[in-house]
C-alpha cells in the first residue's frame, strides 16, 4: 500500500488556494466518527482515528471487520433496508444506539456513497427527539410563510437571515450573493448590536475558491462546530481497494481547509454553518452563519435549515426573475415614453434628455450623451466635451457594429483610465456611422458605485502573525483591486433596450426628414405661386394702369386748350399717380424675385461698381450739386456684382435724395475694424433719421416721408439692399443724428 504520494500535505496560501484539494483532506472534524464500508458485505475499509473516544474501540480493531462489530444485528438490518432505497440521502438520519459497557449511546447515522464505498458518519445525538420534528416543522412552516410574503430579493434575504438566526441561534446570520464574476456581497444580515456589521461589504471571488463553490453546490449545508478542532486522520489514509484518498466531498464531517480555518479565526468566528442558495443548478449565494464560540447544530435543525435553504432557493429565483421581469417592463415603459417625447419635439434629442424618464433610465446609466451632427447633448455625469470628442473619434475608427458595450472601457481604450469616475463602463450605439452620430451611455467605476452598507471603515481586529490576513475589510480592499476600472456590467436586456432605441431614433429622424421634404415641396409650390402672383401683378395690374395713364395724357393733348389750369393740374396729378403705382408694382416684383435668383459670385472690384453707379446717377448728382467723396480706393471682394451694385445704388440715391443742406456731400468708404470682415459705409450730411425708425426703414414700403417730400420713392430700396446683403451673409445697419446726417454700414461675408 503506497499512501505517501497522495497524502503529502498540500501547502496552501492565497496564491494557490484555488488548487487545494479540499475534497480529499484525509481527515475529519472530531465531533463524529466516519467509516468507509465495502458494500454489500459492510466490511470496514477505513475509519476515523477517534473511535476510541466514542466507543472505546481502537480503529485497528475495526478495520477489515464486519460492521456488526460495532452495531447490533437488527440495526444492521435497518441499515441494509435503508441502503436498498433508491435515493440514499432521503433516509438520513438513521438512528442508531450503540451499547458501550453499560451505557447506551445514541447516534445520528448519515450515509452516502462515494467512489463505490459506503460512507457512514455517526454523530452523537440526544435520546429524546420524538417531538423535535414537530417543533421544527412549525418553525420552518412559519419561516416559509414569512419568506413567501417578502416583496423582493432584499426583503426576502432579510427575512431569511432573521428566521435562520431564530432557528439556529447563531450570533450572526448573513445572506451572501455572488455576482457574475463570483465576487460576493453581503445583502442581508442579522446580528447582535455589539458585532461589527458586514452588511453591504464586498468580497473578492478568491475568498471562496472554485473548488469550495463546487462543494457548496454539491452539499446544501456545511457545519463547522469548532474551528479550533484537532483534525482526525483516516486510517488508513487511502482506500485499500483503489489506493486513492477517500473522496469526502459529501461527508458532513469532512475536515476544513486550513486556510478557511484561518479565515474564520481572522473574523473571530469559532463555529460556522453555511447553507447554499441555488438558482438554475448554479450557486446563487449562501446563508452564512457565524458564532463566536463553538456551536454544534443537531442534524434535525440542520435539516430544517437545509429545507429552508432549498425552499428559499426556489423563492429567490422567482423573486429575482420577477424583479428582472419588472425591470424589463419598466424599461419598456421608459422606451415608449422616450419615443413619445422624441416624436413630440421638433428636435428629437430634446425628447431624449429633457424629460423624466430620460436616456439614463433606459439602461440605468449615470451619464449619457447624444452625438449628433458634431454637436454633443449631454445628460447626467459625462466626460468633458474634449474627452467625448476623442472617444467618438476612436469609436468611429475602431468599432463596426451597431452597438458596442463594455464594463471596462480602459481595457480597450486606455485613454478612458482618466475618466474612470464617469466612464468605466460604456454603451456606444451607432445611429449613423458616416455622420459619426452616436448615443453613448456611461457608468462610473463600480468601486464608486457600491453601496457602503454598515461601516466598512471599522475593520475587524486582525492578529498579526505574518502572511496575508483576511478580514472583511481586507477582503473589501482585495475586491476593490479586482474591480478597478470596471463598472457594473450591462445587463443583456439593457443592451437590448439600447439597441431598440436605435430603431426608434432612426424612425423619428427619417420621419422628420420626410416632414422636412414635404415642407420643402410646399414651400416650393408657394414660391411658384408667389412668382405667379408677381407676374400677375406686373402684367394684369399694369394694363388698366396704362389705360388710365394714356387716357389722362390724351385728355391733356386733345383738350388742353379747353381745360383750365386747375383741371390740367388734376390731370397731371393723375399721371403722376399712375407712375407711382407702376413704381410700386415694379418694386414688389423685383423684391419677390430677389431671393430666387442665384447669386453669381466673383471677385469684384468695388471701385468699378461704385463708379458705374455714380455715372448712372450723374444727372441727379449734378442737379443737386452733391460732392462725392471716396477717401481711398475700395477693395476687391467676392460678391455678385450686379446685386452689390444695386446696394450701392440704393444707398447713394437715398443719400442724394434726403439732403436739405446747401453744401451736400456723400462719403463712400470702408472700415477695416472691426475685423475680420470689412465694413463698407455710405455717409451723408443729409436730414438724418430718428433712432426710433432705425429698424422700420428696412421694412418693405415703409417710408419716413410723404410722397411729395424728397422726391418720393416706393420704400422698397432699403428692403432690397438688406435682402441682398443678407444673401451675401452680411448685415446692414445705420448710425444717424437727426438733422445732421446718416451713415449706412454693411458687411459682406
Amino acid at each position: 500500500m503506497n499512501t505517501n504520494d497522495t497524502t503529502i500535505p498540500f501547502q496552501v496560501d492565497l496564491s494557490n488556494c484555488n488548487k487545494e484539494p479540499i475534497h480529499i483532506p484525509g481527515s475529519i472534524q472530531p465531533h463524529g466518527v466516519l467509516l468507509a464500508l465495502q458494500e454489500v458485505e459492510l466490511t470496514i475499509l477505513q475509519v476515523s482515528n477517534n473511535t476510541f473516544d466514542f466507543f472505546g474501540i481502537y480503529p485497528e480493531q475495526l478495520l477489515d471487520q464486519h460492521l456488526s462489530c460495532l452495531l447490533e444485528i437488527e440495526q444492521i438490518n435497518l441499515l441494509q433496508d435503508c441502503l436498498a432505497h433508491e435515493d440514499l440521502p432521503v433516509i438520513n438520519p438513521i438512528e442508531f444506539c450503540i451499547k458501550i459497557a453499560d451505557n447506551t449511546l445514541y447516534f445520528d447515522g448519515i450515509v452516502h456513497r462515494s467512489d463505490g464505498c459506503l460512507i457512514l458518519e455517526l454523530e452523537p445525538s440526544s435520546s429524546e427527539k420524538n417531538n423535535t420534528f414537530f417543533r421544527f416543522y412549525h418553525q420552518v412552516k412559519l419561516a416559509m410563510s414569512k419568506i413567501q410574503g417578502a416583496a423582493n430579493v432584499i426583503g426576502l434575504s432579510q427575512t431569511l437571515a432573521q428566521e435562520v438566526r431564530k432557528i439556529t441561534g447563531f450570533d450572526r446570520v448573513m445572506i451572501y450573493r455572488f455576482d457574475e464574476n463570483w465576487h460576493g456581497q453581503v445583502i442581508a444580515e442579522e446580528k447582535p448590536e455589539y458585532l461589527t456589521s458586514y452588511l453591504g461589504l464586498h468580497y473578492p471571488a478568491s475568498d471562496i475558491p472554485q473548488q469550495a463553490r463546487q462543494l457548496y453546490s454539491q452539499n446544501w449545508l456545511r457545519l463547522i462546530p469548532n474551528a479550533h478542532y484537532q483534525p482526525v486522520a483516516m486510517i488508513p489514509l487511502c482506500n485499500p481497494l483503489n489506493n486513492q484518498p477517500l473522496d469526502l466531498s459529501r461527508a458532513v464531517l469532512r475536515s476544513v481547509s486550513p486556510l478557511h480555518i484561518e479565515y474564520m479565526q481572522n473574523m473571530g468566528v469559532t463555529a460556522s454553518m453555511s447553507i447554499s442558495i441555488m438558482k438554475n443548478q448554479k450557486l446563487w449565494g449562501l446563508i452564512a452563519c457565524h458564532h463566536q464560540v463553538p456551536k454544534y447544530i443537531p442534524y434535525e435543525i440542520r435539516t430544517a435549515c437545509e429545507f429552508l435553504g432549498q425552499m428559499t432557493s426556489v423563492e429567490m429565483s422567482n423573486k429575482e426573475d420577477s424583479e428582472y421581469t419588472e425591470s424589463k417592463i419598466h424599461l419598456k415603459s421608459v422606451q415608449s415614453k422616450l419615443i413619445e417625447y422624441m416624436s413630440g419635439e421638433t428636435n428629437f434629442i430634446d425628447g431624449l434628455i429633457n424629460y423624466e424618464p430620460n436616456l439614463l433610465n433606459l439602461v440605468n446609466a449615470q451619464g449619457a450623451v447624444v452625438c449628433f451632427n458634431s454637436n454633443y447633448y449631454p445628460v447626467g455625469q459625462t466626460p468633458t466635451t474634449a474627452d467625448i470628442q476623442n472617444l467618438v473619434e476612436w469609436i468611429s475608427q475602431n468599432l463596426q457594429d451597431e452597438i458596442f458595450y463594455t464594463e471596462s472601457l480602459a481595457q480597450v481604450y486606455p485613454a478612458a483610465e482618466k475618466m474612470r469616475d464617469v466612464a468605466s463602463g460604456l454603451i456606444a450605439l451607432s445611429i449613423s456611422k458616416s455622420q459619426k452620430n452616436y448615443v453613448l451611455w456611461f457608468r462610473p467605476e463600480v468601486v464608486r458605485t457600491v453601496d457602503w452598507g454598515g461601516n466598512p471603515n471599522k475593520p475587524v481586529e486582525v492578529t498579526a502573525n505574518g502572511g496575508v490576513r483576511l478580514s472583511p475589510r481586507k477582503s473589501f480592499e482585495l475586491w476593490k483591486e479586482t474591480v478597478l476600472l470596471k463598472s457594473l456590467p450591462w445587463k443583456s436586456f439593457e443592451v437590448n433596450a439600447a439597441l431598440e432605441l436605435r430603431n426608434a431614433i432612426i424612425g423619428v429622424v427619417l420621419r422628420k426628414a420626410d416632414e422636412l421634404a414635404q415642407l420643402n415641396i410646399e414651400l416650393e409650390r408657394s414660391n411658384q405661386e408667389l412668382d405667379a402672383f408677381a407676374y400677375i401683378a406686373s402684367h394684369d395690374l399694369k394694363e388698366p394702369l396704362r389705360g388710365i395713364h394714356n387716357y389722362s395724357n390724351f385728355l391733356i393733348e386733345d383738350y388742353g386748350t379747353i381745360i383750365d389750369e386747375p383741371g390740367k393740374e388734376k390731370l397731371v396729378t393723375l399721371i403722376r399717380l399712375t407712375q407711382r403705382m407702376e413704381d410700386l408694382i415694379d418694386s414688389l416684383l423685383h423684391f419677390s424675385r430677389l431671393g430666387r435668383v442665384d447669386l453669381f459670385m466673383q471677385q469684384t472690384d468695388l471701385n468699378e461698381i461704385v463708379h458705374r453707379i455714380l455715372d448712372m446717377l450723374s444727372g441727379r448728382i449734378e442737379e443737386t450739386g452733391v460732392e462725392i467723396r471716396i477717401p481711398r480706393p475700395l477693395p476687391t471682394v467676392y460678391c455678385d456684382r450686379i446685386q452689390i451694385g444695386e446696394v450701392f445704388s440704393n444707398l447713394i440715391a437715398n443719400a442724394i435724395k434726403y439732403n436739405d443742406k446747401p453744401q451736400k456731400w456723400i462719403e463712400i468708404g470702408y472700415l477695416e475694424h472691426p475685423s475680420p470682415t470689412t465694413t463698407f459705409y455710405v455717409r451723408d450730411n443729409g436730414i438724418g433719421i430718428r433712432e426710433k425708425h432705425f429698424e422700420a426703414i428696412f421694412r418693405i414700403f415703409k417710408r419716413l416721408h410723404g410722397p411729395s417730400k424728397y422726391g418720393g420713392g416706393t420704400g422698397a430700396g432699403l428692403t432690397i439692399a438688406k435682402k441682398i446683403v443678407e444673401r451675401h451673409g452680411g448685415k446692414i445697419w445705420l448710425e444717424s443724428i437727426y438733422g445732421e446726417g446718416s451713415t449706412f454700414y454693411f458687411t459682406l461675408e
Binding site: 396729378t573 399717380l577 430718428r690 425708425h693 415703409k702 417710408r703 419716413l704
Partner: protein, 151 residues
C-alpha cells in the same frame, strides 16, 4: 353750415390726393371748425406736443377731434394712437381712424386703443362723399365734443 368754430379738427393724412378729396367735401358742407393737417406721424406728434415747428402754443390749439390715417410715413398711425392713449391729457380726444386698411388686425388694435370710430375709405367717390358727409354730420353736429380750448 356745420360744426363749431371753437373746436379745431386735426387731420393726419399723408396722401395729398386723399386730403384734397376730404377738403373738397368739407368745403361743400361749409365746415366751421378750424382744420389743421399733419403730413405724417412725426409731424402729428410735434403738433400735439407743440414741438419742432409747432412750438408756439397760441397758434397751435389742441384739437377737439382727430381724424387719423393708419399707414403713415415715419411714425405710423398705430404708434400715434398708442402714444395718445397713454397720455392723460390727450387720451380723451376722440380719434376717428380713416384708412384704406380693412385688415382685421388693424381694426382690433385700434379698438383696443379705444378709437371712437374706424372708417374704411371707399374707393367709389360717391360713397366717399356720403361717408364723409355722415361723419361730419355726426361728429361735428350731433355729438358733443369735449371742450378743447379751455384745457
Amino acid at each position: 353750415m356745420i360744426g363749431n368754430i371753437a373746436q379745431p379738427l386735426l387731420i393726419i393724412e399723408d396722401s395729398d390726393e386723399d386730403y384734397e378729396a376730404l377738403r373738397r367735401i368739407m368745403h361743400k358742407e361749409v365746415v366751421l371748425n378750424p382744420i389743421f393737417r399733419c403730413h405724417d406721424g412725426d409731424d402729428a406728434l410735434d403738433f400735439l406736443y407743440h414741438k419742432g415747428i409747432y412750438n408756439n402754443n397760441q397758434a397751435v390749439p389742441r384739437p377737439a377731434i382727430i381724424l387719423l390715417d393708419l399707414n403713415l410715413p415715419g411714425t405710423d398711425g398705430r404708434e400715434i394712437l398708442a402714444q395718445l392713449k397713454q397720455d392723460k391729457d390727450l387720451k380723451y380726444i376722440p380719434v376717428i381712424v380713416l384708412t384704406t386698411s380693412c385688415n382685421p388686425k388693424d381694426i382690433e388694435i385700434c379698438y383696443r386703443y379705444c378709437v371712437a370710430s374706424y372708417i374704411v375709405k371707399p374707393i367709389d367717390i360717391n360713397r366717399l362723399v356720403k361717408t364723409i358727409h355722415s361723419f361730419l354730420t355726426y361728429w361735428l353736429d350731433i355729438v358733443i365734443l369735449p371742450d378743447a380750448v379751455s384745457k
